[in-house]
Symmetry: C2
Subunit: 341 residues, 2 copies
DNA sequence: CGACTGCTTTACAACGTTGTACCAACGATG
DNA sequence: CATCGTTGGTACAACGTTGTAAAGCAGTCG
């Protein structure tokens, strides 16, 4: 049963020798060029399967000037939203015959800059970037002219393609839902000095309160420097320790919400009876948590698809004007804002 | 402020022309060759920064016969264990100057085979594979001689490098913990016909019961064809509907455990009072869930590091005998098996 | 002073692929 | 019969890089 594999992989040259034609003819067959004599085509195809030929992508790309790789630059895979999104982007990219290089920036400006710098310009055809702390000048690090699609909101106002939901409106809807439940001391968790999405969600939060004639109280806006469960728990603990603790909390992502729920439970504060909680991202974790999470649900599949489509079009035509795609979202109402346990 | 970027990226030739030396001398400087006259080195370095030269990875790899890419083949990024692991592998690979190509197989044999086949042999230096349904013959799809490191247990007995914890022992420890709480009707969730790890964890489960003189009852072993939250919930529902419902459950991963806890809660069954629950993987989700999850905690960082190290050594010396690395684990005891709510 | 040694640099080929230019048949057209 | 367009095929160069071999130039030794 021991089978000696040929040490070297077959190249066009090997196939050509076996089929008795020129290298270029084999290349033509491989690339589906029309004008090849049927007889020769057959011979080449036989030789192709006989040798188990696989094209050398590197060499092909060197010649063609394309790499077949795109980078997906995101903060952290351990954040379920990004893990889910990455999975969907992987799928969408596969349809474009693109391989995806996932790069983690860890959410810091340093990390984002290093990543952009390290992505050799020759390495990728383009990049899908989900920035957290990126600023305009950081884009100088990207190789000149690399096609980029941005995900989520970004404060930097660059002429780049962009995909995202209407964060202001989504936040407004979420908070309006809480107001509709009769809650009046509604807190927000997730304010952040440098994050574009944070600013927008905060704006939506304020808008909803104002529209309902409720005061916007600074002591009910909790900052979170990261968006992990721990940060949500810490923020909730601070809010609950205040003089007038909130009766509802709008968290800027599901992880913060999970942490907030946990912190509440640890203090004997019931969700939703004492505090209603809304999250953001509709990660699967929130549908099984106790209580399950009411959350803003962006259409992640649509985001992934749109991002890859946009990148494809940008790569094919670098001169086209930048496009902004708004993807839909919905509000998933679950136990954390409902009567149920 | 408009800056025209040069259309073409600088190549060694451009740098050489600017510095007034040969292409090879520039290459030597770039690669840190020792014997370059200081004067020339200085000139080259100036030209290097002046042109903003970045090596063309594709061309370099074509020449060197290495690609600088490794594939990480895993079932699904939405499974937190794999997301966490992927993040760690990304970090470890970065230290080896490797770029990581993440491929999702979706846990099916088809997916795993397609993935292996699509990874052009020229595309990667090696692969780290976390198989779920893979069988021995599928490895024929991998290009002959591609270095592979396997993660987790695999039933296929191939001469491959391998990293994983002692699943039998880990499962035994987990179940022994439940027995130590005085539980006697201990169920298992996660049996699977084709999964190597499932078989091993089941063996550990049986071993612990037998050692304690408890009967192994087939009606307390629940199959899960996937390891998602939904599968855990379904399995738990089936168990609770039985004649003698369990007073403890050992789940083969944390997602199953989360689903099981949810299903119990929906039926008014208290965790841990009525049913104690143990998970596996120590995902962060389990530390914030209500109740928090007692779980087997593999050292994921150690796994990632070992996998990358092993792959590096295999790439450097394809002839070395396969190595099996056992990474440590611990049992994290939390609320789901403790007195607390 | 010739030969050897060690440093420094260069020209050239090669990795595997594809675009360009060109050549050779062939049948159809003038 | 000369010409032309179509079809089928090939040789060569080039993408950007690095290994090899070899050459130039010191200085040193016998």
């Amino acid at each position: 049963m021991i089978r000696l594999e040929e040490a070297r992989l077959a190249t066009l040259k090997d196939v050509a020798a076996l089929a008795g034609v020129s290298v270029k003819t084999v290349s033509n067959v491989v690339n589906g060029y029309a004008f090849v004599k049927p007889e020769n085509r057959r011979r080449v195809e036989e030789a192709l399967t006989a040798t188990g030929y696989r094209p050398n992508i590197g060499a092909r790309n060197l010649r063609r000037g394309r790499t077949g790789f795109v980078a997906l630059v995101l903060p952290e895979l351990v954040v379920p939203y990004f893990a889910e999104l990455a999975g969907l982007v992987l799928g969408a990219a596969q349809e474009q015959e693109w391989n995806v290089l996932i790069e983690q920036t860890l959410g810091t400006r340093e990390g984002e800059r290093d990543t952009l710098a390290s992505l050799g310009p020759h390495m990728i055809d383009g990049a899908i970037v989900s920035p957290e702390a990126l600023e305009a000048r950081d884009f100088g690090e990207l190789a000149p002219g690399i096609p980029v699609v941005m995900l989520g909101e970004h404060s930097v106002d660059l002429p780049l393609d962009h995909v995202g939901i209407d964060n202001v409106e989504a936040a407004r809807v979420a908070v309006a839902h809480l107001i509709g439940l009769g809650r009046t001391r509604i807190a927000a968790i997730g304010a952040h000095p440098h994050r574009g999405t944070a600013a927008q969600r905060l704006e939506g939060y304020r808008k909803a309160l104002t529209e309902a004639g409720l005061p916007v109280r600074d002591d009910l806006v909790a900052t979170a420097l990261n968006y992990h469960r721990r940060d949500g728990a810490d923020a909730m603990a601070r809010l609950l320790a205040g003089d007038e603790p909130p009766d509802a909390v709008f968290c800027f992502n599901d992880l913060l919400a999970v942490g907030a729920v946990r912190a509440a439970a640890e203090r004997g504060v019931r969700v939703p009876a004492d505090v209603a909680v809304v999250g953001f991202d509709n990660t699967e974790e929130g549908t099984y948590s106790l209580p399950s999470l009411t959350t803003v649900a962006p259409d992640k599949a649509a985001i992934a698809r749109a991002a890859v489509d946009l990148l494809r079009r940008r790569v094919d035509d670098p001169e086209r004007p930048p496009e902004h795609v708004r993807t839909p979202f919905s509000l998933e109402i679950r136990e954390s804002t409902r009567g149920g346990a």
